[in-house]
């Protein structure tokens, strides 16, 4: 029984069958990659995990509880964090404030009215946020305005924000999209480090095979809304079906 | 029954004014992404073009009439318009009489120019600015424009009559089998409705069947891609702004015989037209037109005694009530797209 269990998920957009009968099991503490050509339904599937989309049929279970019909913030509070393709951070705020928001959300839950406490007096939150920034090597940038960060730093910051919540499952949507090779390698190292340091399950959607094969423990290949194969990276590499699916694309 | 038909006619008439203003507003928002609070002022400027034309045509010189005296007991100066003295009382009188239709023709180039100057001089610099800034700067502009008009034309409403041919009303009921006098409707309001239909049809045809229109529509959907195709979309958008200004302006000209223009008519229409646009769905042209007519007709019905006696004051709030209901049941208005103006 995996921590994330997807059974028989279908999703239609008008005339387009975006997902058809998707079954997927992500084992606890694994790093599971979902790959596939453009339009294979990777992002649709991810959106079904986080509450942005509701599948037409099928079930999505996290840790034995159904995710269907729950709002994004409820799903997050259950222990699922998400990294976006383009880093989603609070650009008006400082790096430190960004991370602190995550720490507050983790400590206080989805809503707490605390208008008369003072951020500056929340020593445990500050400590925790500083530790997270250390973890992603951004402690020196804590007071920077996050809008002025480089793309790679924004990604790190987003990662720190997600980790601050101590999620059980981290979803990564093409975390290296649009990055230079050096940044990509840094990100790979960062993810590896994170994985080593804590008990965390990661599900990664990725285009870049270099990233996938450097990281993944298991890989599901998605094509035209259906899982083709699920196997270890070694087995996927030479799989004929995968080659077929990627025909015309650089593997 | 006749009362209902009359209210539908009233609603169509009100609706065509709303639709014309909302159309321009939506055009500007859809193409340029600018929330233009000065759009009501454009309507008002159009109306004052009519006033100006009427005054210019009515320009006169004075002759002293020795037989009459004025209020202080001095000999009365009688006025004679230049137009009449040039063309003779017959032709000249007709020209003066037709000042509103004449003003429509004159208003088009003036409004295109006003729109062009506004876009190039001010709006252009606000494409990348937040909507709040756009609202504030155009609101400031609207105040400035209305105060200038007030400075030169005063605060009183100014009577701008329709040509005398269109005075009086038309027994519409007899045509469709009612008793005489059951449904009579002023000629000018019928003209206004027809005029609005032609303008709305013209704008839609223009957007649909010309290359220019196609580019603009594509630009409304996805500005960046169209820009990538090497098409100078900015220049076309400038023209669109002029066009929207012209539509608002001539709508204002034609409305003057119905509503004597005053300097604050732009602000009076502004809130209403924004409600119309939002109910229609931001950025949707058919939505704006549909919402204009819908709200016009509903407002007319809410003004009926039968309904007012059931719910007192309903005519005061109906527009807002409908707007609230529609926005709560249809998140993006009647025909709006997702993701527009929701940040």
């Amino acid at each position: 029984m995996g921590i994330l269990e997807v059974k028989g998920v279908n999703k239609r957009f008008g005339g387009l069958q975006a997902l058809s009968n998707v079954n997927l099991s992500v084992a606890e503490n694994s790093l599971h990659a979902i790959i596939g050509p453009n339009g294979a339904g990777k992002s649709t599937l991810l959106n079904c995990f986080v509450g942005k989309l509701i599948p037409d049929t099928g079930s999505v279970m996290f840790n034995g509880e159904s995710l269907l019909g729950r709002k994004p913030h409820e799903i997050n509070q259950m222990g699922i964090s998400r990294v976006f393709q383009t880093p989603e951070i609070f650009t008006d705020l400082t790096v430190m404030e960004n991370v602190m928001i995550s720490c507050f959300a983790h400590r206080d839950g989805a809503f707490r009215l605390h208008p008369f406490e003072t951020v500056a007096h929340e020593t445990d939150i500050i400590e925790q946020a500083e530790k997270m920034l250390l973890d992603v090597n951004m402690a020196d940038k804590r007071n920077m305005h996050s809008a002025s960060l480089s793309r790679g730093d924004k990604r790190r910051l987003e990662m720190a924000m997600c980790l601050a919540q101590e999620p059980r499952l981290l979803l990564l949507d093409e975390p290296t999209a649009g990055m230079a090779r050096a940044d990509t390698n840094n990100t790979i190292d960062l993810l590896k480090e994170i994985k080593e340091k804590r008990d965390i399950t990661m599900a990664i959607i990725e285009h870049d095979m270099h990233v996938v094969f450097s990281l993944a423990e298991r890989i599901t290949v998605l094509a035209q809304g259906t899982p083709l194969v699920e196997d270890t990276p070694e087995n996927i590499k030479g799989h004929p079906k995968v080659k077929e699916a990627y025909l015309g694309e650089t593997v | 029954m006749d009362a209902i038909i009359l209210q539908i006619l009233n609603g169509l008439d009100k609706g065509s004014a709303y639709a014309l203003i909302a159309l321009g507003l939506t055009l500007i928002f859809g193409t340029l992404g600018v929330v233009n609070f000065a759009h009501g002022a454009l309507f008002m400027i159009g109306a004052f073009v009519a006033v100006t034309v009427q005054r210019l045509l009515g320009l006169s010189f004075e002759q002293i009439d020795p037989d009459k005296t004025d209020f202080l007991g001095n000999p009365l100066k009688v006025k004679m318009t230049y137009v009449e003295s040039w063309f003779g009382p017959e032709v000249g009188g007709t020209i003066v009489d037709w000042s509103v239709p004449v003003a429509v023709i004159i208003a088009i180039p003036i409004m295109l120019l006003v729109g062009y100057v506004m876009e190039r001089g001010l709006i252009k610099h606000f494409y990348k600015r937040p909507h709040a800034d756009q609202i504030l700067v155009t609101f400031g502009l609207a105040i400035v424009l209305q105060e200038l008009i007030k400075y030169f034309y005063g605060a009183n409403p100014i009577q701008t009559p329709a040509p005398s041919v269109f005075k009086g009303s038309f027994d519409f009921g007899v045509l469709v089998g009612f008793d005489p006098n059951a449904i009579i409707y002023p000629y000018w309001r019928l003209v206004y409705f027809a005029f609005a239909a032609v303008v709305l049809g013209g704008v839609f045809a223009f957007l649909r069947y010309t290359t220019f229109g196609m580019v603009v529509r594509a630009g409304m959907a996805d500005r960046e891609t169209v820009g990538l195709l090497g098409i100078n979309i900015d220049k076309r958008f400038t023209i669109m702004f002029g066009l929207a200004a012209a539509v608002a302006g001539i709508a204002g000209v034609m409305y003057t015989p119905i509503l004597s223009p005053n300097y604050h008519m732009g602000m009076d229409f502004l809130v209403l037209s924004f409600v119309v646009v939002v109910v229609g769905g931001m950025g949707s042209l058919p939505g704006a037109v549909a919402a204009g007519f819908l709200l016009g007709i509903l407002q007319s019905f809410a003004s009926m005694n039968e309904i007012k006696s059931l719910i007192p004051g309903i005519d005061q709030v109906i527009i807002y009530l409908v707007a609230i209901i529609i926005l709560l049941t249809r998140p993006r208005g009647l025909l709006g797209r997702a993701g527009v103006m929701e940040d």
């Binding site: - | 009233n10 004014a17 209020f71 009183n156 005694n305």
Partner: protein, 449 residues
């Protein structure tokens, strides 16, 4: 744009004279003076609170012109205007009680709040001893109540609602202008004469307090001459397009439409009623008629030829032929180039009446002024013999019934006087039910101490 040329040098002098300040710091509370804003220098300041922005701005500006003219006359400049015809001769053209009159202006925006704010600033900042002007009943009532609290005199401008001297009457407040009841009482007999007794009236009424009181008054007086009231429909203020209220009229069985609207609303509703053919129509075998109970020059000009033959009432019109009117029209016309409006007349007269009352009382103390004005009878101010009634501070005088002129010779004579209704006919008891009944009371005079 009016530029008054007279005030300039004169004001420089008065300004300099009051500049004699106190050398040593003195501390005193407001209670130390005998009454609010007691004038101590050699000038006294009036506050002219009129709409300078908003829909009634033109009316307000005309009031301002008249008020400036009044100050000029009180200070002995110009030709003296109505001071020459005024029955009281307490004013001699040297200011009031030896003090020159100075004035400040404020903008009411025709809003209750703004009018109060502007009045308060004139009282607190400029130290005015009285406030005059205004163009709507809501602000008039509010300003009157404020003056009562502050302990100065309020001379209302154009306010036609019964409430001003009815349920909202105040000891420190005075109204020269006529009211809705008087309009009805004056119009009734004339309407009976021209339209007969068998008429069915349909009211369109602006949906706020003034509209309601006028409708109530007109309904009462038309029913008194035998007319039937078919319907009374309330219309939103500033509706603009009245078509949906006008279309049901023709098939309602009514043969008279009464428009209880004012200003821009009236211009639009009348224009649109004419467009919908009401004035050409026949109903119940009679010509359909439209009546506008309260006329003003502003509305007449805005409605243009649509007012031709339409009956209404006015407080005063420049075409009157008495000596007072002639004197006022002459000095106003020579200064500004056009005849004064009715609201200008009211504000002019109110300013003179206040100044005269102070002169007669020999004191600026508001309570002394109230005493001087109460039951004061005067003449020569354009309305014939007039009484400022003590019980409600309402002026009682003749009322004009007007009609839109068929052949106006200029833009200023588009209304003509049909009848001057004598004062007896418009007089009512101070405890009339439309005026707050027996409960209404002026309260005590307040001088601010």
């Amino acid at each position: 744009m009016s530029t008054s040329n007279f005030t300039r040098r004169g004001l420089m002098k008065t300004g300099a004279a009051t500049g004699a300040g106190l050398a040593l710091p003195t501390i005193f509370t407001s209670a130390a003076s005998a009454f609010t804003n007691e004038p101590t220098g050699d000038t006294v300041t009036f506050g002219f609170n009129v709409p300078q922005t908003g829909p009634y701005a033109e009316e307000g500006l005309d009031e301002l012109r008249a008020q400036e003219l009044a100050v000029e006359h009180i200070n002995g400049m110009g030709d003296g205007g109505m001071l020459n015809t005024f029955s009281s001769k307490a004013l001699d053209g040297t200011g009031i009680l030896g003090k020159k009159v100075d004035f400040v202006t404020g903008d009411t925006q025709t809003k209750t709040d703004a009018a109060r704010a502007s009045a308060r600033s004139m009282i607190e900042k400029d130290g005015v001893i009285m406030i005059n002007g205004g163009s709507s009943s809501g602000p008039a009532v509010a300003v009157q109540a404020l003056c009562q609290e502050a302990g100065i005199i309020s001379m209302a401008g154009l306010t036609h609602s019964n409430d001003t001297t009815g349920k909202d009457r105040k000891r420190n407040g005075f109204r020269h202008f006529f009211n809705a009841y008087m309009s009805g009482a004056a119009l009734g007999p004339v309407l009976k004469e021209v339209y007969g007794t068998d008429r069915r009236a349909y009211h369109l009424t602006a949906d706020y307090t003034w509209g309601w009181t006028q409708q109530e008054s007109i309904q009462a007086s038309t029913e008194a001459i035998g007319w039937e009231t078919v319907n009374n429909v309330l219309t939103p203020v500033g509706a603009g397009d009245f078509s949906s209220y006008i279309t049901p009229v023709l098939n309602s069985g009514a043969d008279v439409l009464i428009l209880n609207h004012y200003g821009g609303d009236m211009v639009n509703s009348l224009t649109q009623a004419v467009q919908f053919g009401l004035r050409d129509a026949e109903a119940n075998g009679k010509n359909f008629e439209v009546i506008v109970p309260l006329y003003s020059e502003l509305m007449a000009a805005g409605a243009g030829e649509n007012i031709q033959g339409v009956y209404g009432s006015m407080n005063w019109n420049w075409q009157l032929q008495d000596e007072g009117t002639k004197a006022f029209v002459k000095s106003f016309g020579e200064k500004y180039g056009f005849p004064p409006s009715g609201s200008a007349h009211t504000c002019y007269v109110q300013t003179l009446l206040y100044a005269d009352a102070v002169a007669r009382a020999g004191s600026f103390n508001p309570c002394a002024v109230v005493e001087a004005l109460e039951d004061f009878e005067f003449d020569g101010m354009g309305n014939g013999p007039t009484l400022y009634r003590a019980e409600d501070h309402q002026c009682f005088k003749d009322v004009l019934v007007m009609k839109g002129a068929e052949n106006p010779t200029s833009e200023y004579d588009n209304l003509e006087i049909v009848e001057i209704t004598p004062v007896e006919q418009v007089t009512y008891a101070p405890d009339h039910p439309m005026f707050g009944g027996a409960e209404a009371s002026l309260g005590e005079c307040n001088d601010g101490t």
